[in-house]
């Protein structure tokens, strides 16, 4: 027989102001199976918890219902309290009288009645609860960091410095990411390369870090503490161990006109190339798509000139499998190219640039060695227009969000332009200036007041080319909504930052959720910003949402901290709220008939086949089994199972149906 205790909390006056808590406790005392029912001012306080502990001991309770706040708030608290009194923590349930009742309804009979219904519901549920025990799993103390931009670099270094192993996977031939492309950084205008390069080198040299560049993560199986990652190392066609990095090959390669990715297409590179001088590793790779030898079967000049004989045309792609305990995703972002904007010419005008292209123009290591020159004719632009929110905050373009970094880098661009072209005129079209950050607003002010950048509050409707000039048609909303037309020599679009192409695919490979824009979703927008909903997988940097360097670094360190916490124990425990396929005595063994229609429904590939054998080893029946390590407890399989052979602990058929029955019970 059930012996249930009900504990109704006033939450100060938060609940008791609209719910008559004493009446609730009284009503609950009359429910079948309830042997103890009280109300108290603060159940979560020490004396409150003591009341629960004492009642469990004295009345030998088999279940506890705490009628107070949301279980999302205090469920761990009360379960802990029960546990301390010797009651299995999963025999404690909470009725949400605060968030779902007292705070949302006026004082009155109906509100108290609802509170009673909610308590009855949880009493009926808890009667059907089973004691559950945490699941223990071992931990592999190696982290996989996907992406070698500043976020990935920071995360890898922090984890490695914490004494744990790291495997870093970077898609490009070099780590460094977007930060390596930047000229100066706001708000200090210090050189991006200068602060980044030492970190890159540290990664390469760290004894705890294994670096795979020119490599991609192609599969991830397993679960927290026990992932198996599959990495494809694309053939570099160069034996890294032998190559000295002299780069002679890159000077002799006949393919010299390939648009350089690093320079955002504004410069050229060869087919065997090092993306940029400070690359880590600083060894060339052959881009097979552009290499003459791979295309025609002839050439091999690089092979001839290589003093170390390091060229390997027959090198295959290599698949490596590694065991890791945690994953940090730091795959970063990309931006819309100018071709995305019909109104700005579909990318037809060479002097309409993206912000990243401007970074390369302004960078001393860029194609113009830091001089601002027009890609079309090499002239120095006399008039330059910067357009913020190009695509961002524009539902018509499918991007409702703010790209967050543009306001700051536009101010920086305009400043850099004014510093380099003293007589030039610069305009910034903006919607609002979002400069929330340490020294950020001051930085923008400096651009306006000291560097004479013309900020025009309004949007640009169209850009077209006429007689060698770019006609920028816009409106100045602060000057009586006057239409403005600027004849510019160069236009820089602060195009929207977007998720990397392939982010969706990666999310599916990793089984993490992502938002409508394919940015990876954090587990909680406020309180769990670096975790994903998949245990053991963490987020760092702009792959989660656009952010600037300091924020990326902070999040990366946060993710690294989480990984190090996870790795601080050799075993971890998980909540047992997972699905289970029933088992019974022979001749049935299980009511599961092994149709496996649940298999495609499981987002975690947690459903396995289990063969039930007789004593002689003959297979009698093949039934489903849920891998407790993989199952996250969504219960989708449960609703699919026709014979109702799968159930989910904590939300069993009996429990939820009892809840429905109880909540609809007539008085």
């Amino acid at each position: 027989m059930a012996r249930i205790g009900v504990f109704v909390c006033h939450c100060g006056e938060n609940i008791s102001a609209t719910v008559e808590c004493d009446k609730v406790a009284q009503a609950a005392a009359g429910f079948p199976g309830v042997v103890h029912s009280i109300d108290y001012k603060y159940m979560c306080s020490d004396p409150g918890q003591n009341m629960i502990r004492e009642a469990i001991r004295e009345k030998n309770l088999t279940g506890v219902v705490v009628a107070s706040c949301s279980p999302r708030m205090h469920e761990p608290t009360f379960r802990q309290a029960c546990s301390e009194a010797g009651l299995n923590p999963f025999l404690c349930e909470m009725a949400n009288l605060r968030e779902h009742c007292s705070w949302v309804h006026e004082k009155g009979e109906a509100t108290t009645k609802k509170a009673i219904d909610l308590v009855r519901m949880m009493v009926e549920k808890v009667k059907r609860n089973q004691p559950l025990y945490p699941i223990r799993v071992p931990v592999t103390k190696t982290a996989l960091v996907v992406g070698g931009g500043i976020a990935g670099i920071q995360a890898a270094l922090d984890i490695a410095n914490g004494g744990n192993k790291v495997i870093m996977v970077e898609r490009e031939p070099s780590i460094g990411g977007h930060m390596s492309q930047l000229s100066e950084t706001f708000p200090t205008l210090d050189c991006s390369q200068c602060i980044l390069t030492p970190r890159m080198v540290e990664v390469a040299q760290h004894p705890n870090i294994t670096l795979y560049t020119y490599a991609e993560l192609i599969g991830l199986d397993g679960f927290i503490g026990n992932f198996k990652a599959k990495i494809r190392k694309k053939a570099k066609s160069v034996d890294e161990k032998i190559c000295t990095g002299c780069a002679l090959c890159t000077t002799k390669c006949p393919q010299k006109k390939i648009p350089s990715e690093f320079n955002e297409g504004l410069g050229k590179r060869t087919a065997i190339y090092v993306p940029f001088p400070q690359a880590v590793p600083n060894k060339p790779v052959i881009d097979k798509d552009h290499c003459t030898y791979y295309k025609t079967g002839k050439c091999k000049i690089c092979e001839k000139v290589c003093p170390a004989q390091a060229i390997r045309f027959d090198q295959p792609d290599e698949i490596v499998e590694v065991a890791v305990g945690a994953v940090v995703i730091a795959t970063g972002f990309t931006i819309h190219q100018t071709g995305f904007f019909p109104e700005y010419g579909y990318g037809r005008y060479p002097d309409v640039l993206t912000g990243l292209q401007f970074e390369r123009l302004a960078s001393a290591s860029g194609p113009t060695l830091g001089e601002i020159r027009r890609p079309s004719d090499g002239k120095i632009p006399e008039t330059i227009v910067f357009i913020s929110c190009a695509g961002s905050r524009d539902p018509a373009k499918g991007i409702e969000y703010c790209s967050k970094i543009c306001c700051m880098y536009i101010a920086k661009h305009a400043m850099l332009y004014q510093h380099k072209v003293h007589h030039g005129k610069s305009y910034v079209f903006y919607m609002d200036i979002r400069a929330g950050g340490k020294m950020y607003e001051e930085f923008v002010r400096r651009a306006i007041t000291e560097d004479q950048v013309n900020y025009v509050r309004g949007r640009v409707s169209k850009i077209y080319e006429r007689d060698g000039k770019l006609i920028v048609k816009g409106v100045d909303t602060l000057m009586g909504a006057e239409a403005v037309e600027i004849e510019a020599d160069m236009v820089v679009l602060a195009t929207a930052g977007i998720a990397n192409p392939g982010a969706e695919e990666l999310a599916q490979t990793l089984h993490v959720s992502y938002d409508g824009h394919h940015f990876f979703s954090e587990a909680h927008p406020k309180l769990r910003p670096v975790e994903t909903n998949t245990a053991g997988i963490f987020l760092a940097g702009a792959c989660q949402a656009l952010k600037d360097i300091p924020e990326s670094v902070a999040q990366a360190s946060g993710a690294a901290g989480k990984v190090n916490i996870l790795f601080s124990k050799s075993e971890l425990t998980r909540e047992p709220l997972i699905a289970v396929v029933n088992r019974s005595a022979p001749p049935e063994y299980s009511t599961c008939v092994g149709c496996f229609l649940c298999q495609p429904a499981c987002p975690y590939q947690a459903i396995e086949k289990e063969e039930i054998k007789d004593r002689s080893g003959k297979v009698i029946k093949t039934v489903a089994r849920v891998n407790p390590g993989l199952c996250q407890g969504c219960g989708t399989c449960v609703a699919f199972c026709r014979s109702k052979s799968i159930d989910i602990q904590g939300y069993t058929h009996e429990q939820v149906l009892a809840e429905v029955m109880a909540v609809l019970e007539n008085d």
């Binding site: 968030e99 779902h100 705070w103 959720s513 987002p603 989708t636 989910i648 939300y651 939820v656 429905v660």
Partner: protein, 151 residues
């Protein structure tokens, strides 16, 4: 009894991560709504068995709310997509059977949409009030009352 204002009984089947949390936010934001709706918590909309909806009507529910995470926002990646497909088929089947699907509100309410939850509840309550008690179904469910009195 007849003079009493009809207060519909509505059960809400919601997922833990979005709508339950959204309803928590409604509370935290102190937005008021009608007390007719009582929430049953599930880990995910993917867990919500269609039979539960039938059982709720059978137990005298006048209306039902089913709500979970917006598409692409599922805590478990795809439970809501599975649920959506299930509801599309189930709903059309119910409609074909003459069961009033107008009494079932399907919705996506995220953890951030506390106001939406309140509005959804209020809308549903007022719609069900207009429709009146679900006597057609209740008569069938409470068949024995008639029979027992009859004999």
């Amino acid at each position: 009894m007849e003079n009493k204002i009809f207060e519909p009984k509505i059960v809400a089947f919601v997922c833990n991560w979005c709508t339950y949390a959204g309803a928590d936010l409604t509370g935290t934001s102190r937005i008021k709504y009608a007390p007719n709706v009582k929430i049953v918590r599930f880990p995910c909309t993917g867990r919500i068995d269609f039979m539960l909806l039938l059982k709720a009507f059978g137990e005298g529910a006048d209306g039902i709310i089913v709500s979970g995470c917006h598409p692409n926002d599922c805590h478990y990646t795809s439970g809501n997509f599975h649920a959506r497909r299930r509801w599309i088929s189930f709903r059309s089947l119910l409609d074909f059977l003459g069961i009033d699907t107008g009494r079932i509100t399907f919705s996506w309410v995220s953890a951030a949409e506390g106001a939406k939850w309140a509005a959804l509840v209020n809308d549903t309550v007022s719609r069900i009030k207009e429709l009146g008690p679900y006597t057609d179904y209740e008569k069938v469910a409470r068949y024995y009352e008639e029979e027992v009195n009859h004999e």
